[in-house]
């Protein structure tokens, strides 16, 4: 099976201080990879290294190799010719807190499509409806598409963010603790959605929850103080015992 994301000797520093050191790992297509670790261990930085979002922070320096397996071939994320904006158009991201634009629900879905993919009019609206249905939000918002996105509940906002990311048809989806700020029911809905997406997309999810990691993960990357200190795969020998052993010190 092809490597969806391949990371080799990744080192990320902010103003000279190393946050990630010597990370080497691979995730596979059709798998859902969960990155776990304590607060401040560098999980989100690792996630942001995949779409070069760390570069939006001052003083960031990244060395090493990150390769993505996309439909049209391999993409070296940090190669000179790689345009960060085009890369991020193919690598979607959902943040910990629902990060809706201060616009209407409809505009939240249509604006990125117009700006990033140049899709407007009926085609964009069709994609919007399809993705809102996909995340189970369409029936809840179809009669108030002009309402401000901020008026939705936390769980609905997070699903809107997911629909917005999916509308750009990414090939890799990064999720930074996507259920951390939503209630239990919403969290389960998002988890179910992620499980349904993993056959179409490569998913990398940061999680702070042991039950969630157990439910979702095909592969687990354990980060401790900026280093990759453990890996687990559902297919390995004695997977359950290895899972408990690896994560017992983390959660």
């Amino acid at each position: 099976m092809t490597a969806a994301v391949s990371i080799k000797n990744l080192r990320v520093t902010f103003n000279g201080a190393a946050v990630l050191e010597d990370i080497t790992c691979k995730t596979r297509c059709g798998e859902l990879t969960v990155i776990v670790g304590r607060s401040g261990s560098g999980k989100s930085t690792l996630l942001r290294a995949v779409n070069r979002l760390n570069e939006c922070f001052p003083g960031c320096s990244t060395t090493g190799v990150v390769r993505l397996s996309l439909h049209d071939g391999q993409l070296a994320v940090y190669a000179d010719g790689t345009c960060p904006e085009r890369l991020r158009g193919r690598v979607g991201m959902v943040f910990q807190s629902p990060n809706v634009l201060p616009l209407s629900i409809e505009r939240n879905m249509l604006l990125p499509q117009r700006l990033v993919r140049g899709i407007t009019g009926r085609a964009a609206e069709e994609i919007m409806r399809r993705m809102l249905r996909r995340v189970g939000l369409f029936d809840e918002v179809c009669d108030r598409m002009d309402a401000q996105a901020a008026t939705l509940s936390g769980g609905q906002q997070q699903r809107l963010c997911l629909a917005r990311a999916l509308a750009l048809e990414p090939e890799v989806l990064l999720l930074d603790e996507p259920t951390a700020s939503v209630d239990y029911q919403s969290a389960r809905r998002i988890e179910d959605l992620l499980l349904s997406l993993k056959d179409e997309l490569s998913l990398l999810v940061v999680s702070h929850s042991l039950p969630q990691t157990r439910r979702l993960a095909d592969r687990v990357l354990l980060i401790r103080e900026g280093r990759l200190t453990g890996q687990w795969h559902r297919g390995q020998a004695n997977a359950d015992a290895a899972f408990e052993k690896m994560l017992s010190t983390t959660f």
């Binding site: 779409n51 904006e85 991020r88 158009g89 943040f95 209407s104 505009r107 249509l110 604006l111 990125p112």
Partner: protein, 291 residues
Amino acid sequence: MTRFHRLFSALCWACALLPGAVMLLLIGFLLRQGWGSLDLHLLFGDTPPLDALFRFVPVWDGIWPACFGTLCVVVLAGVISIPLGILCGIHLSEFAQGRFRDILSFCVDLLAGMPSILMGLFGFALILFLRHTLLPDVGTGLLLSGFCLGLLVLPYMVNATYTSLSSLPQDLRLLGPSLGLNHMQSIRHILLPSAGKGIVSGLVLSLGRAAEDTAVIMLTGAVANAGMPRSLFDKYEALPFYIYTTAAEYQTPEDLNRGFGAALVLLVMTTGLFLAAHLLHQAMERRWRRG
């Protein structure tokens, strides 16, 4: 609650009420002094108002030319300072880095602290320089006043834009790049509209400051009896200058009351400008939110 806390709380309340009370007192005083003289005669003198407005018949004994002059000079100052200030604020917040940003920021602060009389002297010196070098026929007038007032209020626009943009939450700043928007798209479609309210506050402050300044215009082209300006290079009348000369040289109590009447008109004009800025912002925000 301890006695200290009660005292502190009462002091905060009093301080919060103070600006409102001063404002009411000021408007009440102006109304009392100027209301009696507030009529069409104050604006147009003996000239029929419609003739003055639409046929440009000269007004000799009214403040209409001063109103028009003030409006022109404020618009000119806005045309110069608003785009420059917004672009400079965007540069400071989004592009400038390190030492260069510190130096640029210091220069803006220095400009903000410059007394307006110095800006007037700068304009006067500039016109003398131009007369002796490139443009021997040039003189003080509307354009020079607008330019100097534009420079005077430029730091308000720069700081308002810079502060509004740089205080946006980190999440919102990351949103554009995370969706694949480039930096310019992110600024144009996410950051600037989100910072719109703060920028409009700076705009209101700038226009108000430009409308009330006297020191700059008295050195750069405003005179007591110029009539309506015929070009950007003409001398002109302005309301703050009229109020200043009336207060300094009035002969009778009626003259002084006309000055108060003119102050009320200036207040109405600036309120109108603020309202226009507010409505413009609302219209832009509506357009942004609905697409």
